[in-house]
């Protein structure tokens, strides 16, 4: 799931007014835990998920896990 979030995102954290950074983030689904590189606010940790990622790779992995 890595890589879909663009490094040079125009988005800023509105609360902290910080530029977003790439970081390993924990993701959970159906009892499974894994780590992925995503973009987030370095201050408040709010994680950014693009539409492309959510409706693409993420959805695909969700469906795969659901059929396990």
């Amino acid at each position: 799931m890595n890589g879909d979030n663009k490094q040079n995102t125009p988005w800023l954290c509105d609360k902290c007014k910080k530029e977003l950074v790439q970081k390993k983030v924990k993701v959970r689904y159906l009892g499974g835990n894994f780590e992925v590189e995503l973009t987030k606010c370095p201050e408040c940790n709010m994680v950014f998920v693009s539409e492309e990622l959510a409706m693409g790779k993420m959805l695909e992995v969700e469906k795969e896990l659901e059929d396990k």
Partner: protein
Amino acid sequence: MDLDKLLETSDICIYDEPPACTSCCPVHMDVIAFITEIEKGEFDKAYKVMEKRIPFARIIGSICDHPCEKVCVRSDSGGTVKISELEKAAVRYGYAPPKKAIPIPKKKGRVAVIGGGISGMTAAFDLDKKGYQVVMYEKSDRLGGKIWNYEGGLKKEVIEEEIQALMNKGIKVELNRFIDKKGLEGLIGEYDAVYLGTGQWEEELQIHPETFQVGNTSVFAGGKLSNKSCSVIFSASSGRRAAISIDRYIGKISMNASREREGSFETPLKYETEGIQPVEAVRKASDIYSKDESVREAGRCLKCRCRKCIESCSHLTHFNISPKSYMRQINQSERIILGTHYANKMINSCTMCRLCKEECFKDISMKDVIQETRESMVKRGKMPVSAHDFALKDMKFSNSKHFSMVRKQPGKAEYLFYPGCQLPASYPEYIGEIYKYLVSKINGNVGIYLGCCGAPADWAGRQDLMQENAEIIKETWEDTGKPVFILACSSCCSIFEKHLPEISFVSLWEIFAQYGLPHNNKVSPKHSLSVHDACATRHNKKIHDSIREIAVLSGYEIQELKYSKERTKCCGYGGLVYYANREQSADFVKHRIEESNNDLLVYCAMCKDLLVDAGKRTFHILDLIFAEDMESVALRKMPTLSERHRNRAQLKIRLLREIWGEEPDMELEKQMDFRMIIPEKVKQLMEDRYILMEDIEKVIDNAKKNKERFFNPQEKSYLARLRLDNVTYWVEYEEKDEDILVKSVYSHRMEIVEE
């Protein structure tokens, strides 16, 4: 889930059973494969199909007495398919000499074959192939026996060539050797087994009809000795079956195990003959069918195979699967512990309409199988959450304070009008009118009860939720004085029958039919409608009749569809397929629409919505009763998922105010302090992604209050997220003065840990 029972049911399915012709053929020639090749003009391949089963196919194919034709299903629709004539044609146009087989070592034992006719030749040929050393004894000076007597189609050279081929295999042939009873004694001592195919014998023999063993000796007898007839194909078959017995006898394996389907048998296959157009058999212009004549005659074959349920069901058609293999796949899926459950999507694409059972000769109900499977998946934690999540949340909404309520006149209620959840979502404006009608017509205390019967839970295999829901309904029923429920939704009817048998109910349509329509002054043009019956009540004749009565009372004429009443089809909503597999759902609608050009008449809100959404002019029975302008409702667009929520919520508020003069709880009318502008494009995304207006509002409300959002300075837009229950919703929006312009919405189920 009881998998043994499942496999037993799968065994009952006759999909894989051979057609009558093949099962009757003593050597079980694959007639359909054979005829299919001929139809394509591939005579060489057709001959290859014959060769697989028919010994000395070039000889027998020309002279077979074809018992198969007597049982051909085509016989009553223009005459039996001329299988034997087609075999002659395949021999003539498709014969090619067999490839040289690699000789295998003959180490399994020695067998004597007495008699060189067709049964002996077949036994010798098969035993040689199985690895036995075979010696043939023939009293005359050539093999072949009676086949030399055939005239016409069968040429002398062909017989000679085939016999030569047999001898070339290394089978030893002793000609001019007459074996009598005494000679046989000698051979018994010399060989591991003896096959007797002499046509006549000095004494009566005790031949076992299935194994062809004589008593319990090492002698096996076939041909005319066992068949008592001159049939060439039965002779060949007996030689073949005796060879199997000899192999088992020498190998000391059970003589009887699994041999039920050897020789001619009656197939369990049933084939629907209704509607078959008669076609006369093709006449041959000369002594044998020309290629062209063969192709045409082959075209008359019905390729008998039971596909009755598949043909009528869009789901089985979509997955191109027979219930037989469907059940086997479920069996496999149920046994997977680690690995992917590939059948999940299919299992969640059955509308559980039970048409298959109506169609099936064997009463197999995939609906029951799927119901059990889904329940088992839920129990084992293997049901994909996303398949039914939205529908289950919708049910929860309907049973929450936002919609659910019970009101009655003072005292014990005699009737409780229960419109269900989807009808009020699609037709909020009719509910109050119906209630007033009921109160005015029925003598007695009539109350109203809003909520969802639990059908979504039942379909999703969630028996926990289903039971919980049924309990609540039951309590309400007891609390209100055990009234008769008046049901307007067919799914409610079937849920009540299944889970609340103690509650008696009457369908709203029966009441309309019985008490008459509220304003009967409407004159409609002579207009004919076709009823698309609801699949959930396919066996409720009272409902079927009432609907037709109401239509006639309203001035319409009914033209029945091929699939109606107990054989009706599902619109594609049932079983929650609409949520689990939209493509599959669309198939159902499409097939249903293609059935007739007439406008349709339905009595389930979801049927109407799905049919209209696909462009079919469809009336709900309530349109006939209440609508002012029929043209405007014929194609009235279905409300969005968000509107369905709002319609229900507002109906409750309206009923409380207008009928009971109550001021609803403030909570119910709570409004956000911003207004949203949602472009059409985004509305469509919301439908496709199952995102509701109320979800979006919550995301934006949280973003505004807590600044939990991203900001794009170039576009001046915001992107906010909020996790609601098990889904994270994302909304991209712009603030335009006081308004919110929604630019996009999406969601994911994975949970992201923000730390």
